[in-house]
């Protein structure tokens, strides 16, 4: 049970990449002058991306200087949120969802694969390619079990995994092959396996079921006038007055 601490070995310096610099400016510009520090989380995120997936101490200092805040304030944020990694990670950071739906659908098996292939969680594999950790719900329960893999190409979901497809995924990533994000079992997004089963009637979509409207609801002019008259008759303000009197 230990807190998250800065890595023991730190690089000497950090600088934003060109793209990161541009993105940082975009985020800082979102906040009024004097409130630049509101952009601390986006900037830390950009810095993490630019630093190979983890936040070094120099990176935090650069962020602090950029936003005109004390380094301790940046450290507070960086240590609070677990999405900021304080230790170096492998080329691909695998976040296995271990929350109930994924667990019921076999995330424990994925973890077993990770342990076998990579080692203990939050360690870097021997080849430097992978780090894995268990995380809470990533919001893709319908495609459980799933993992999120963060690397230079971004953060992508790999869903509907089992031991075999997880192994294959790791093989492909290790070999540097392209992998397709999304379901790994030929599902299309979160459709049922084998394609959609309902709402397949084409007439639902080609307009053949549509019936012409007699009048358009809430249309101006033509439709309004008769309606107004009807309302006037029904409202009967005259009736309301005697009612009030009777009440008293």
């Amino acid at each position: 049970m230990s807190g998250r601490h800065l890595a023991k070995e730190q690089p000497d310096s950090f600088a934003f990449s060109k793209a990161g610099e541009k993105e940082a400016k975009y985020w800082i510009a979102k906040y009024p002058k004097g409130k630049e520090r509101s952009a601390v989380i986006p900037l830390l995120w950009i810095a993490q991306k630019d630093n190979g997936g983890w936040l070094s101490e120099p990176a935090m200092r650069v962020v602090a200087e950029r936003l005109g805040m004390a380094p301790i304030r940046v450290l507070e944020v960086a240590t609070f949120y677990t999405m900021f990694k304080l230790e170096p990670v492998g080329e691909h950071l695998i976040q296995v969802c271990g929350t109930t739906p994924c667990m019921l659908r076999g995330s424990e098996k994925l973890i077993k694969v990770c342990k076998k292939r990579i080692g203990e969680k939050n360690t870097i594999s021997a080849d430097g390619k992978f780090t894995w950790e268990e995380v809470e719900c990533l919001g893709a329960c319908v495609n459980a079990p799933m993992v999120q893999i963060s690397n230079a190409s971004g953060d992508h979901y790999y869903e509907d995994l089992d031991e075999a497809s997880m192994e294959k995924l790791l093989d492909d990533l290790a070999a540097g092959r392209n992998v397709k994000a999304g379901p790994q079992n030929d599902r299309h997004t979160s459709e049922p396996l084998g394609g959609a089963q309902t709402l397949s009637d084409k007439s639902l979509y080609n307009g053949s079921r549509a019936k012409p409207l007699k009048s358009i609801p809430n249309a101006p002019k033509a439709a309004k006038k008769p309606a107004k008259k009807g309302v006037a008759k029904k409202a009967a303000p005259k009736k309301a007055a005697p009612k009030k009197g009777a009440g008293k």
Binding site: M1, S2, G3, R4, L6, E57, M69, A70, P71, I72, R73, L75, E76, T79, F80
Partner: protein
């Protein structure tokens, strides 16, 4: 002010301003609310949950520190909301909170320095359960480094974040933070660097548990074995109210005492940690120089030697009173020398060109509490962070909570608040009057403008002219008004205002400090009486016979021909007047060391030997002769002297904050701080 609102606390209906918190309302009604994180001089955090009260009808108890009376809705029948602080719900809530707080708190009270004065101990006794149900392992946290003053034992921390808020808000250096989260939350400085604030020691008082304790005081004493004496500090001219805790003949520690108009409840690190200097380098018996060597002597012999010298030509005798002198000794020495016809005496060791022109010309007229009201503050030749840390915190408070803007003419130092830098030298004072826009515009329109002139501006050869410049600026900008006097002089020495009030300055052609030194090195001065004066250039005393009366073996004693051992500020009942002209009583906490005596008594005894017996036999009789100078019409434009100024920029007289007086120089703690500060400065370069 907001409207009054009725609220019913424990069946007692009271009326309080709507902006009051429930805690304030409950206290108004006489109910006691336990708390850990809440502190009335810091922002509200609301994270300890100890102050829970019941709002009858609400589903859950409320944190009373964070909820205002305005937020309460009256009962359905229109009667004021009912708050209960003594109900079963509240009792259970407090027990629950206390149980959670104690889950990860080690039960190491027997080896904890906070034991006996610990909020957690007291409140666990008062509001907790009698036993624990927790059987799991407790968490442990690594100790953190915070420098030579603050000792940490972070396992005891309950994450109230008072220290973080103090360092950020009052001290103004964002160095402490709460890192990690949940069970792993820890208080630390960035990369465990040392705290750099001059007010860092206050976190020790603020810490409700034993997580932050005093490093120099560690394992030295228990609070119940200490004799507590309320006194006044002399490390700077603020006159912070302190409590001196002593055991036997030893001062064990110094704590702040609340005084809203002076130091609130903070004291600077020098004030707090200087006490080990009271045990080292002490002058505990009279010495007489013989064949170039100092040898012990009896009081009779030493006083006889001094008396012999004082009977000489009064034109060739001079006296200088140092920075830590009490008013009584200065008054006694002035009376004695006056009766001998000596006119060369001065208390302005640093050569500041003040005094002799009315009292308002040398005191902090708007008072320290007046800073809170000021809306534009111009600092001239002063770095209040080093010269009077407490006042600097006050200025920061005015900037943070009020609308005060600050301008600086002088060194562009880090003052912990933003300011407009308007120049560095005397010429910039004159130029300021013609400036438009920015701070100058704000200053001229201000309702409560304030000028603070420091010793960096006055303690220089052209100090009198600089004072005239500042006075003229004050007159031009109408800083002195019928209901507001914003012309302030910030002193660096505790004795200075007292000395000026007494009139310990040259009269009838007498010489000032510079004159005395010049005359002495030219051989025109036979005898120089140093009353605790160590901050002068001793090589300038030439071949003069030097009498040193003081408490510490510092520069003065080194040069002296006769040493009369006096008492340090914790060892005498004495009066001190702070920079705002507030006369305060200091009390004796321990007796003077060895054969040393209270300073006024030494001079009284000397007067007998000189056969000019002073007309007072006890302290009260002496004090009865001390009168504050009569008030005179004050015209700032006539202060100082007209004349040319040099272009030399203002430099703060304090270069090493931790080493400004003999007591601090004798303190190992201060030496460690000074070494640490040097290290930090070097690292920054």
């Amino acid at each position: 002010m907001s409207e009054l609102r009725k609220v019913n606390v424990d069946g007692k209906e009271i009326e309080v301003p709507g902006h009051y918190t429930l805690m304030q309302a409950c206290e108004e009604a006489g109910a006691e609310i336990p708390r850990f994180c809440y502190h009335e001089r810091l922002s509200v955090a609301g994270n300890c949950r100890m102050c829970l009260v019941e709002w009858v009808g609400a589903p859950k108890p409320m944190a009373s520190c964070a909820m205002s009376v305005n937020d309460l809705r009256p009962n359905r029948d229109g009667s004021p909301a009912n708050i209960r602080t003594d109900s079963a719900v509240v009792k259970k809530a407090r027990e629950g909170v206390m149980e959670f707080l104690l889950i990860n708190h080690p039960l190491d009270c027997p080896i904890c320095d906070q034991g006996g004065e610990c909020d957690l101990q007291d409140q666990a006794m008062g509001y907790g359960r009698g036993h624990t149900r927790f059987e799991e392992p407790k968490r442990a946290v690594d100790e953190k480094n915070m420098g030579p003053l603050v000792k940490t034992n972070m396992t005891r921390c309950i994450q109230c974040t008072r220290c973080v808020r103090f360092i950020t808000e009052v001290a103004g250096v964002e160095e402490l933070g709460l890192v990690n989260r949940g069970e792993n939350a820890e208080i630390t400085t960035y990369l465990q660097a040392n705290l750099t604030s001059e007010l860092s020691g206050n976190v020790i008082d603020l810490c409700p548990v034993g997580a932050l304790t005093s490093r120099p005081y560690a394992f030295n004493a228990r609070p119940w074995e200490l004799a507590k004496t309320e006194s006044v500090d002399v490390m700077d001219a603020v006159g912070s109210n302190i409590r001196v805790d002593a055991r036997g003949a030893e001062v064990m520690r110094i704590l702040p005492r609340n005084h809203d108009d002076v130091n609130e409840e903070w004291i600077s690190d020098k004030t707090r940690f200087v006490w080990d200097g009271l045990k080292r380098q002490r002058l505990d018996k009279p010495y007489v120089r013989e064949n170039g060597m100092l040898r012990e002597a009896s009081w009779g012999e030493a006083l006889g030697k001094v008396a012999e010298r004082l009977k000489g030509d009064p034109e060739r005798i001079a006296a200088i009173a140092g920075d830590l002198c009490d008013m009584e000794s200065m008054k006694a020495l002035k009376d004695l020398l006056g009766s001998l016809g000596v006119t060369s005496m001065d208390c302005r060791v640093d050569g500041a060109a003040i005094g002799g022109q009315g009292r308002e010309g040398y005191i902090f007229n708007s008072r320290i509490a007046g800073i809170d009201e000021a809306d534009a503050i111009l600092l001239i030749g002063t770095n209040p962070r080093l010269e009077a840390s407490i006042i600097n915190a006050r200025i920061r408070g005015a900037w943070l909570h009020g609308e005060a803007e600050i301008g600086v003419i002088g060194e562009a130092a880090d003052l912990t608040y933003p300011y407009e830098h308007l120049g560095t030298g005397p010429a910039d004072i004159a130029a300021f009057a013609g400036k438009r826009g920015g701070f100058a515009a704000k200053f001229k329109k201000a309702k409560r403008p304030m000028i603070i002139v420091g010793m960096g501006a006055l303690a220089r050869p052209d100090g009198a002219q600089v004072l005239r410049y500042a006075g003229e600026l004050a007159a031009k900008c109408k800083v002195v008004r019928e209901d507001w006097n914003g012309f302030n002089v910030l002193h660096t020495a505790a004795a200075r205002v007292g000395g000026l009030d007494i009139g310990f300055i040259p009269s009838n052609g007498g010489k000032d400090v510079a004159g005395i030194l010049k005359a002495a090195s030219a051989g025109e001065m036979d005898t120089v009486y140093l009353l605790g004066a160590d901050e002068i250039d001793m090589s300038g005393l030439g071949k003069a016979f030097v009498i040193y009366q003081g408490s510490h073996g510092d520069a003065g004693a080194h040069r002296a021909d006769v040493i009369l051992p006096g008492a340090a500020y914790t060892e005498k009942d004495a009066l001190y007047t702070n920079t705002e002209g507030r006369m305060q009583d200091g009390f004796r906490a321990v007796f003077p060391k060895g054969k040393a005596r209270e300073d006024w008594a030494i001079i009284r005894a000397l007067s007998d030997v000189v056969e000019r017996t002073l007309p007072y036999d006890d302290l009260d009789a002496l004090r009865a002769t001390i009168r504050r100078p009569d008030a005179a019409a004050f015209d700032p434009a006539k202060l100082g002297k007209a004349g040319k100024v040099t272009a030399k920029p203002f430099v703060s007289p304090i270069t090493d904050y931790y080493m400004t007086n003999p007591i601090a120089r004798a303190s190992a703690t201060m030496a460690a701080c000074a070494a640490n500060a040097v290290g930090i400065a070097q690292a920054a370069e």
